[in-house]
Each structure stands twice: as structure tokens, then as C-alpha cells.
Symmetry: C2
Subunit: 235 residues, 2 copies
């Protein structure tokens, strides 16, 4: 936790917060902070700054906070992600949030197992929490926006063309004649398939929606590794 | 498991293998393969090809194998990694192996907790297994070489200069005047610090050993995310 995210409910008055629960435990057990220490804090969707510890005991952490720095800019990147396995989903959301991805669309695909949609990790609270972990890691306060589309075809035909407009839209496809470009100076929409890849009909739909298939090399990477490597390459 | 790694002991004769244990279970339960199916196989440190299933039951998987393709080339990259938390270590080794990193040196640093060195995950067998998982994921047969250096100073003063020779050596350091370069056409040695970063004396030692400090941007990434993003950026 390189940044402690604050919520409006934490504020006792505009300069003072009181925290309990997970954040209190983390500051006591991991930071091993003491009275008078300063911590990095940031208001969710707002400014970042420092919190001076004025109380720290079993019940609560209280800080005087000064918030004066903007969070780092987001990457102009929209990820369109075939829903990964629940365990991978958590890591991908945290990792994408830490990398500064602006928008994430979780979508269905032929090779997405139906059971993934019913996982407890798809609960709103978990989807929020994993992205929050990414912000705490990276020192950012702005969640990537998350959208969920249970049906492939209506999303690709009705929603995706609007998302793609004004961006360079790329979809990884083994054997595509174009290699993935690098260091692009414009907004990007990036589609990442399920384990096992897109089927041909899905790829054709994505191409109709404006995506260019690009080859990502001979190695098959896990989704969270692929996303990080692509972000490093594209920006 | 996109590739089933074969070991010399698996061979009944030069064209025939018998597998049991984890690989048998995976082919039965996850691949749900049947007699007559073909699987991607590769001999550890050797060629890749296909295996035609000639027997598949509770006791064993037998295949006729034809090995004729070379594994994908390694990246000319040596990672010098401050030993991460045990849980992160597993993910970093698998992820680095999948990305094609050629050499990994795990080293000590001031902010590496001593307990990390005593973790069961540091057992030879686990260090081998995690890298193997990366090869199975990426379809590669060549393990990244792994070296462990329990003492920082002797490694940096006596070993590192030889490693660095003939490579571009980079160490991430927040606020360095140079941004991290991109798309480099020469071998790279990349030093990645512990959570909390290198201390100044360590950074000075790395600079004396030939490393150039580079700024990686305002976001603090988890080790495995940082390694993947840097690989994407540098190659």
C-alpha cells in the first residue's frame, strides 16, 4: 500500500480523517507507523498528499491531511478483455489499474467458460476492491472505469464502434501479417482474447468493428503479463 | 499448459513417451483430450513438436512424438532482481520465463526482509517448477538460467561487472533525469529493486558497476508487472 485511499466518509472535518479496518491494520502491521509519521494519502477520484498521524491505536488511525497534488495521468487506453478465469481476473484488474488503464470492458467470448460469469469474484464489491488495490500500489486515486457485457454480439455491433472511434484499435492474433506497433501517440483500444484465443467469427466481428489484427510474437502470455507487456510497448 | 514439457526419463524409446502425475492429470482434466488427439510437446532444453495420444487412462498418458521445431529465441536480457516476497517470487519467475528472459539473478538488498531467504519457495525444486510453468505457458523449452546471490556487495563488486560487460545496464530509479529508453537493439542488463526501492548506497554501487539510472514514471508497479512492462518497452 504505497498510497492510502481516502473516502468521503473518512473525513471528520475537511482536514482530518479517521480510518479503521483494513487500512488501520495495514498501517499498524505492515507500515509499522507511529504517532507523528507522515503517510501518502489520496482522496478517491481526487487529490493526493500527506497524512500526519495524530492518533494510532487498536481502534483507529487519525491523520491531519493536506491534499494538493493531482494523481498521475491515465493512459489513453481502453482494454476490451475476454473475461479471464476468476483467479486471473483479480490480478488483471489490479495490474491494469496500477498501469493507469483508463477503461476496461469485460466481455464474453466463445472460449470463456460460462462458470466464470457466476464466480463470486464478479461481485461488484470485489471488482471495486481489486481496482482499488491497483491504485494503492501505483499511487493513483482514479479508478479505471469498468463495464461488463455479458453478450458478445450486441457489444461488438452496437457499443464497440463508438468506443473505437478516434482510437487505434488493435487485437492480438497469432500469425497476423502486421507486428504489434510500438510507442503510439494516440488513444488505443486493445482487445485481449481468452485463453485459447478468439474464434474466427469473433475475430471477423472485431475487424468489422474497426480492429486491426496484430501479431504479438511466438510466446503465449498469461493475460496479466500480456497486458503489462503491451502497455510497455504501446506507450 | 500450452506446451507439455518432456524430460529424458519420459522416453520409452526415441519416439515414444509415457507420462504420469501432474501432466497426466492436466491432459485428462483440463485439456480433456482423448485417444488420437495431438498435443503440443517439447523436450526440456530441446526441440518442440507434437505428441499423438496412443494411450490415455488413469495410470498413464502415452504419445508418439515428433520433435522438429526449435523453441522461440530468448530475449538478450539479464534480470538482476532484489529477492521479492515469496508469493511474488513465484509469479515473477513464471512470468519472466514466459517472457523469454535469458538469465535471472536473485540478489539481496537492504529492504529485502531476511525471512524471504528462508521461505520454502526458495527450495531448488520450487525455483525450477515456477520457471517450468512459464515455459509451459509460453511454449518454450529453455529455462531461464537462475543464479542466487545471498550477499549484495560481493555480487555487485565481483560478479556484476562481468555480467554487465557488452550490455546496456539499466536500473530503475524514481526521479532519474533519463527516462527509460525503448526498443533497444542490444543486450540489456536490468536491475529491479525491492518493494521500497534501493537505498542510496546500493544505487551508488550499481552505478559504479556500470548501470545507468532511468526514470520509470510516476507509477509504482508490482515487480511482476514492472518486469513485463519493461520487457514490452525495451524489446
Amino acid at each position: 500500500m504505497n498510497l492510502i485511499i481516502l473516502f468521503p466518509d473518512d473525513f471528520l472535518d475537511p482536514q482530518r480523517v479517521r480510518l479503521t479496518g483494513r487500512r488501520l491494520a495495514h498501517v499498524r502491521d505492515t507500515h509499522r507507523a507511529v504517532l507523528g509519521d507522515s503517510l501518502n494519502v489520496g482522496l478517491l477520484a481526487g487529490l493526493m498528499g500527506t497524512g500526519l498521524i495524530t492518533r494510532l491505536d487498536e481502534e483507529a488511525l487519525e491523520m491531519d491531511v493536506a491534499l494538493d497534488q493531482p494523481p498521475p495521468p491515465k493512459l489513453p487506453l481502453t482494454l476490451v478483455l475476454a473475461l479471464p478465469r476468476p483467479k486471473v481476473l483479480n490480478r488483471v484488474l489490479a495490474s491494469a489499474a496500477s498501469l493507469g488503464v483508463a477503461h476496461i470492458h469485460l466481455i464474453n467470448a466463445w472460449k470463456v467458460e460460462k462458470s466464470y460469469w457466476k464466480s463470486p469474484r464478479m461481485a461488484e464489491e470485489n471488482l471495486h476492491h481489486q481496482r482499488l488495490l491497483g491504485l494503492e500500489q501505483a499511487k493513483d486515486t482514479v479508478l479505471p472505469e469498468l463495464h461488463i457485457h455479458r453478450l458478445f454480439r450486441p457489444f461488438v455491433e452496437d457499443v464497440l464502434p463508438t468506443i473505437v472511434e478516434g482510437t487505434q484499435a488493435l487485437v492480438g492474433h497469432p500469425g497476423a501479417p502486421e507486428p504489434c506497433p510500438r510507442h503510439i501517440h494516440q488513444p488505443i483500444t486493445l482487445a485481449v482474447g481468452p485463453e485459447g484465443g478468439w474464434i474466427e467469427a469473433e475475430l471477423a466481428s472485431l475487424i468489422r468493428a474497426g480492429f486491426c489484427p496484430v501479431d504479438l510474437g511466438p510466446r503465449i502470455l498469461r493475460t496479466e503479463t500480456a497486458v503489462a507487456a503491451l502497455v510497455g510497448r504501446l506507450f
